[in-house]
Amino acid sequence: MLHRLRQPWVASLAIFVGFICIWAWLTTTPSGPVNAADAEYARLAGQSAAGQQASAIPSPRAVALRGYELIAHALDDDNPNNLGIAWHLVYSMGRVALGFTLALAVAVPLGFILGLWPACYQALDPFIQVLRPVSPLAWMPLALYTFRDSTISTIFIIFICAVWPMLISTATGTASVRAEWLNVSRVFGVPRLEHVTRVVFPASVPMILSGMRISIGIAWFVIVAAEMVGAQSGIGYFIWNEWNNLQIASMIVAIVLVGGIGLALDVILKRIGEGLSFRE
């Protein structure tokens, strides 16, 4: 019995329960006597002001109820101004998928070329080094101005942030194939094309996949911010909209969902990576 308690998930669960308890305690304790001005303001402004008397942050119970409500109406699409949360997530994931796929289609072939021809890499390196650290959101106004469409702009933002890790890791992976494998090709006279397709490419697959994993993480990071700035749908828009409505509980539910989906994306790419990489 005791050895079961030593397992890591027990500690994780304990931390979670502890966190919820502290959260509940902090949010249900009234914050001092209600002051007269507030009461007056509440009469004038109605419920939203009155609700602030206890705490601005909702209790875990309120968040759970709100979560249940949001999930119960997750697939609502009768009113375009009040889409269900699942649709927002679908929009976000769709944009990430499109931007990420475009980035993949550009980064892997280009990275492969850069890795095979170091001179190309050296020529392009200054541009990569300057563009890579630019926050993806810095591109947003330029993208909105250029494309005049918020959806295309967010997809572009995802593209631009996802392209660098994949480009660099593909180029590095292609350029740093183990010398012993290159020597096998040379000693046995494997022709160039076969060498590239059957030796260099499989050897760099693990690096390409780890670049993809980093990219999808960043893309999911950035989509929330991009949609806050310039979109009428998506989970980023949802969070910003709920903030404007002062629906703190909805925001917290959305944050948890964003985290869960980010984790799922990472696990999926990790699995794909394990499936496609060679074993030694």
Partner: protein, 264 residues
Amino acid sequence: MADLNINDVSMSFVDRSGKALLALDRISLAIEHSEFVCLIGHSGCGKSTLLNIVAGLLRPTSGAIRCAGAVVTGPGPERAMVFQSHALLPWMTCVENVHLAVKQAFRGAPRSELMDRAEQALKLVHLEHAIGKYPFEISGGMKQRVGIARAFAVQPKVLLLDEPFGALDALTRSSLQDELVRIVETTKTTVVMVTHDIDEAIFLSDRIVALSNGPAARIGRIWKVETPRPRDRLKLTSDFEVIKYRKEILEFLYKKAPFPQLAS
């Protein structure tokens, strides 16, 4: 005529400060057809460099290599190599690894013949059960067997081995040595092998070439091993001749070409 001629080969490397460092100093050696030659010396003395020059992976600073009369300008199918690390491609099965080499050596042959050759080569090293397996599924000794099969499968004139058994345990090593002797005897292949194992060199070689310590390594001494074949590993341990070779080689390595730190 000799199968392999190493003619006045020198090799220098340029280090990071731009200084040229002479690794091999005017090495000349003629290796006869179906002769088994071991290069022995301290690690870092340049014996692997010499083997890589023979393989065509490195170009000598001066001098030339001739294989069956033709000047070596790069790697070629008449000189196959077994690498220190087995150097199998982990994403290919054993037979695919051998096939990749066979395909280049017998370009234009039908696929069925190439597959057949690859499988025959694996059978030669008793790996018929591992044909469809990936390198990660087999032991270190078996991987090196695949490496040997790959080299023999292209039917080279000269077989180059770069410390092929260095990473293996003693028992696996001796069984692979036996295997190598058996195949070399049936195929009459000329062999140049780099090793730092004195017993291995005596057991396998017709001639043992000891390099002096680097930098600027030269041929220090050559022993002709006249112990008749087939050689019995157990009898060899108490063979008077063998003990003499062993003593001389040890003396050479420890006195004439001592460790760099002992020399200074």
